[in-house]
Symmetry: C2
Subunit: 248 residues, 2 copies
DNA sequence: CGAATGTTTGAACCCTTTCAAAGACGGTGG
DNA sequence: CCACCGTCTTTGAAAGGGTTCAAACATTCG
């Protein structure tokens, strides 16, 4: 497991707008920073946005100035082909950082849109780099977050390049489950924020195949599916579908 | 076998393998650094390895200490399933940096093996971070390189998730072609360092499909294929296969 | 030269896609 | 509050692109 933190429950009490009091402390950029250093980070995060479902955080081709940390909510990132076809590159939730692909060229290569009402912290990148220059712990944590994005993208390549539909959906659900658990939510009962089409798009399948695979999992007693509410009834069997894809 | 670290002092005698005189200056980590700063970077890159075809640079699960910059040669990175099935995550050539996925957990998640005799510069990561703390240009260039890896991985997801066999091979060949061109080699005639099986593995296809698609491209006059020597005879038509996948 | 590795080509099969139509849900406005 | 409409989902049947299995051929290297 990449993060070794104890699951954190997000409550109203700690939704105050500073890194120091943020529940995501241990998932996000401030991880490992002292109180004083967290305060310094706080000072460059001068904007905290409320975004509504459907709002764009950034668009492909737009100038890159800031990274965005998700304080609460759910996003998808995607590219658009020249005829409007969407290709989803990732789903991001509480504590995740968006926009790291844009550093290389000062422009965003993808779009990011909220799938539900969300709160995000805008982190001006040049100021982050400057601060990281004097806070080695911050620099290291930032490198770890970028590195984790690389690892996750490469794992997704494995999924797209080698797995059958059942395994793709199983891997997707287990991944979501683990990420929810890490954030203090139930790992075996959760609500999907995306449509079947978006799931299929992300997994390299059609929406029909996703729908049929959900139906099969339900028939086999692995899942209980009610529209977008999923209950994992037999996580062992779900995980067993991924045998042979575990790292050796 | 693991390569052993033997510090080498930078002297006039081996100046030819210093960053300052390296042809990859503009592709690699030193990009944008002053002569003096490049010298400082040079001093932490105390090992330059000669690796032979088949040598491992690192293995999945191994402790992460260093990044590796390819001075010359060609590598593949891959994961191994629990029954030995390989999944190739990338091909890397001159000027590319290997090992960035390992920063997040201090362990390598993938394997890296040379597909031809190569030369690599080993960059102790903790020293790189330390130096980057006092050289903002170096830090920024490093961030750009990590970011580029993310962008490229996500583009590969698009390929694996949406494209047909012909488009995958076309995208693969065009990508190789552009990378060779950037390094001063011919963009329309080059030698493949990998087998059909490795290409297929990387593209999410079987070796048979790769072979058949090469044959079709040749029959259509798009390519001239001789074993592993490829000549692009109609790059416009090759690129046209990727219409609709251009960023909007 | 012989064995191992890599490549080509053919034919049958299968998983997923594509096309189609009906059903369920949720939001909006009357 | 309910009817309506757009969006999303389910399910069926047919078609297709790629895989799988198989065999022959080429190439490389000890």
């Amino acid at each position: 497991m990449l993060l070794q933190s104890i699951p954190i429950k997000v409550t109203l009490a700690n939704l105050k707008s500073s890194c120091a009091s943020c529940a995501l402390h241990e998932l996000c950029l401030p991880m490992g920073l002292s109180a004083g250093d967290t305060e310094r980070l706080d000072q460059i995060i001068n904007v905290r946005h409320k975004t509504e479902r459907g709002d764009y955080l950034y668009r492909s081709g737009g100038i890159f100035r800031s990274l965005f940390a998700i304080k609460s909510g759910f996003f998808k990132t995607f590219s658009l082909g020249d005829e409007g076809q969407e290709k989803i590159t990732g789903f991001y939730m509480t504590g995740d950082i968006l926009g790291m692909d844009a550093i290389s060229s000062d422009r965003h290569h993808y779009n990011a849109v909220a799938l539900e009402d969300s709160m995000v912290c805008e982190i001006p990148f040049s100021e982050l780099e400057e601060l990281a220059g004097s806070l080695p712990t911050l620099a290291h944590q930032f490198h770890k977050l970028m590195s984790r994005e690389i690892t996750q993208d490469q794992q997704h390549m494995l999924l797209l390049g080698k797995m059958k539909a059942e395994q793709r959906l199983a891997a997707f659900l287990l991944n979501l489950s683990q990420r929810f658990a890490l954030r203090g939510f139930s790992s075996d009962h959760f609500h999907l924020r995306m449509t079947r089409e978006e799931i299929g798009n992300y997994l390299g399948l059609t929406l029909e195949t996703v729908s049929r695979t959900f139906a099969r999992f339900q028939a086999e007693g692995i899942l209980q599916v009610n529209h977008r509410d999923v209950t994992v009834k037999d996580s062992a069997r779900l995980a067993a579908l991924l045998d042979h894809y575990e790292p050796a």
